[in-house]
Symmetry: C2
Amino acid sequence: MTYCVGILLEEGLLIASDSRTSAGVDQVATFRKMTVFDKPGERVLVMVTAGNLAVSQAIVQHLRNGLSTETGQDSLFSAPNMFDAARVVGRAVRAIHDEDAEYLRRHHSDFNASILFGGQIAGERPRLFSIYSAGNFIEASEETPYFQIGEIKYGKPILDRVITYRSSLMEAAKCTMLSFDSTIRSNISVAPPIDLMMYRKDSLEPTKPRTVDDGDAYFSSIRKYWGESLRRVFAEMPNPDWPEIRD
Amino acid sequence: MTYCVGILLEEGLLIASDSRTSAGVDQVATFRKMTVFDKPGERVLVMVTAGNLAVSQAIVQHLRNGLSTETGQDSLFSAPNMFDAARVVGRAVRAIHDEDAEYLRRHHSDFNASILFGGQIAGERPRLFSIYSAGNFIEASEETPYFQIGEIKYGKPILDRVITYRSSLMEAAKCTMLSFDSTIRSNISVAPPIDLMMYRKDSLEPTKPRTVDDGDAYFSSIRKYWGESLRRVFAEMPNPDWPEIRD
């Protein structure tokens, strides 16, 4: 399993993924699921993937190599805007589907790839897309500023309570860490290190993705603080005054 | 969808369920999913169900009527202990499976029934079981005191953080309300009223299930308090001190 989050903000963009893959409990490993394509001063594109790892890696490789089409070369580096760039990713998904899906089916596996793809190309604001196995996609907006893929449910309530388009990058990073904390506690197939890419609007410079592992001082401190605070708030909250459970 | 929780406590037992059923977004209704079988002074048994509503209702009806077996009548009212009572429920699940599963299959529906079943029979402590579609089951313990069925993930983190076997019935009721709050906020197919049955150990008297709806004063006040407290704790928590996102 995997857990990835992407958040579109007035200040920029945040994309994060865990690093655990598992094919059964005896085959667990750490793989990076984040890929950055950039051309400083012109474009910064970030992609994270969930689903079948072989499929995900094939899609990334395909995008690195550039796709041949009838009209020439199709590349993330030449797409004029983010919408077209998302379509390039969608076509890469479809190309791998054409190649692999029938063989996967013969082995009773589904073709399964979910992608968060965001970034900025000069001349546009930052944009964020969630791309499906079919190669089509939806775009985040001010009203719905975040997407999740993979094991999404445990970490959703905190995002729903806190995140808006006006949240700062710092708040989004803090909230993302808590969302991963809830997920990691409840699902053993999601695990650090967490890769976190924070992009400030109009910088058009890639920032090195930050790798947050179990020993990270900030992550450890807020996990502890959050857990203790929740238990304290819970304890301070009034009990129900229901006669059937009075002593 | 449905969300149900059962919690086994040193003090007794709590079982709760929502009341929403949906078969597509244009067919949404309120149905009670909780059934109590009792014989005051001797036994109190509580059952909640998730899955196909027709299957659930057939199982309950079957249990109300009593099951005919080779060795005579098989009833929740005559089972000598909770384990045997859980087996009676399992046999009811299997009887309905024998009757319905093939017809469901022809209509591309799975036979799908999950049940939480708990209570106390004189001579034993309270016990809690999670019963599967196959009619087999697992039992809660001091180490794993709670079970959930249905839409379980959104409401699991708060249970994991707070509930132990030593929690009081009051704390368990408070935590259950928050667990439903998180679930209801994130999944539109789970909705009040919530039926809540709290049973104090060795009372052997049924307590009327409490029905908590949207307008319930206690539920409204803790939803508000919890939401505000989480946002306050979140705001008070230090931001990451990461150079790439400093202004």
